[in-house]
């Protein structure tokens, strides 16, 4: 069961997902994600080389509508639901000076 995913990988993935985990959560997730990935070993081990992947159950293509003017939803109604808005836009704290 061990080493399907390491503690350091869990910390890295949490950073990618913008989540901050406590030490206890890191330990818990390391074990649990390892168990889930262990279960997925049947998929990982499968020889499916030349099979095309299916990302969607329907044959998908772009759906276009006629280029006709119509009313859209009210911008102000969306902005009113935001934690902060100003001058017709969502307002956020400074983004400069952050680590990449």
């Amino acid at each position: 069961m061990s080493e399907r995913i390491t503690r350091d990988e869990v910390i890295h993935v949490a950073r990618l997902a913008r989540l901050e985990l406590t030490d206890a959560e890191i330990d818990e997730f390391t074990g649990q994600l390892g168990d889930i990935l262990e279960h997925a070993a049947d998929v990982e081990a499968l020889d499916v080389g030349d099979i095309e992947p299916t990302s969607h159950p329907l044959p998908m293509s772009n759906v276009l509508r006629a280029d006709v003017r119509r009313l859209s939803l009210e911008r102000n109604e969306f902005l009113a639901q935001a934690p902060a808005a100003e001058a017709g836009q969502f307002r956020v704290p400074p983004i400069l000076g952050e680590e990449p």
Partner: protein, 477 residues
Amino acid sequence: MSALDIAAAVRSGERSAADVVDEYLARIDARDGELNAFNLVLAEEARAAAAAVDATVAAGDDPGPLAGVPVALKDNMCTRGVATTCSSKILEGWQPPYDATVVERLAAAGAVAVGKTNLDEFAMGSSTENSAFGPTRNPLDVDRVPGGSSGGSAAAVAAGLAAISLGSDTGGSIRQPAAFCGVVGMKPTYGAVSRYGLIAFGSSLDQIGPFSTSVADSAAVLEVIGGHDPLDSTSIDAPTFDLQAVLDRGVEGLRIGILRELSGGPDSVEGITSDVQDRAAAAAAALEAAGASVQEVSVPSATLGLSAYYLVAPAEASSNLSRFDGVRFGLRIDAPTTGEMMTATRTAGFGTEVKRRIMLGTYALSAGYYDAFYGKALKVRTLMLAEFATAYEQVDLLLTPTAPTTAFPLGERTADPMTMYVNDVCTIPSNLTGHPGISVPFGVGDDGMPVGVQLLGPALSEPTIYQAAAVLEEVAP
């Protein structure tokens, strides 16, 4: 009283919609403190909608096929100006500025929304224990779970707190709670019901469908909510279903396959209890006695469904849930920079299961693991589509138990995610393939709790599914 009976009485003026809605609101008042099926009860709005239905009748007009029918909506469907939470703290205070297409269609058919129902946070779970607002209890035994993730919608209909309800099914989230609560639950073909206004979990898997106490009610609701919607680019551009017309056709000449890998026995996935296996076998025998031919059919890749699903669904979820970052909706935890604000908001706003799935999905999509996990899972979907297509050359429908067990006690499976995930083993394949499936109650297990039997068919085989489901309902013990 069935939804169709209510609608008939209201349309004919025999009973007022106001009277019907008062009856249901009184039952919610009496029972929901214990069950916690509802996140929000819309008493005022429901009374106003019922009054409008009654005014339409009084004016000599027809309010629609679901006139005055009290409906409960899973709280991941957008309702204009009414809180929509996904049972998550991260959407705290958010009121969508628009209605989901299904919400509009139900209202246009005369149905009366009585409330928003509890779910596992963002529909991630199989017991409705992952809700930020506490678990929903099974109305048939309040020490047991109602199933999930649409547990509130299932419990509401089972307890008579709504005549019908809507759920969403990403890996079994309509069918499994329907089985646990002893009601009918239908997951339509992917694209048959608009997802516009359904807050996304796994976009290639999610589908909205009805809960009801009868197969006929289920058919009536699907006729109303189904059909093409230009606002959902994955909506199938096909004529709407004509389902109520097929309910009395019987199963003479229909070919039913027992799906070997999901029915217990030597080639099957493990964990299907013997009482559940027996009920499914009895259902097959009953269909045979009613004139269907029954044979065993093999779909070997069905055993890979669980693994493939728990890579595909978290991967899609990790992408879909990236929009919850404190910028546009709901919760924001203030911090000096935007990046820190996003991390603080997501850390405070998401519950443990949601974090676990975001982590799993982010990992499965990350450099170095994409091909081994997500990429392979997508190839399993192709394999499954091919094998199910072969199976549906031999039979019209497949039959399996809906869930491996009956409803389990609250708290029994919360410690170990894998023991929770295996609940979905029989329902997941049809989400990966986009095929329809219905759960119909068929007797009880050794513990006296209901058992659901699932009928599966190829894409857009809803009429055949309802035709057989009506027979199953009639012959059920």
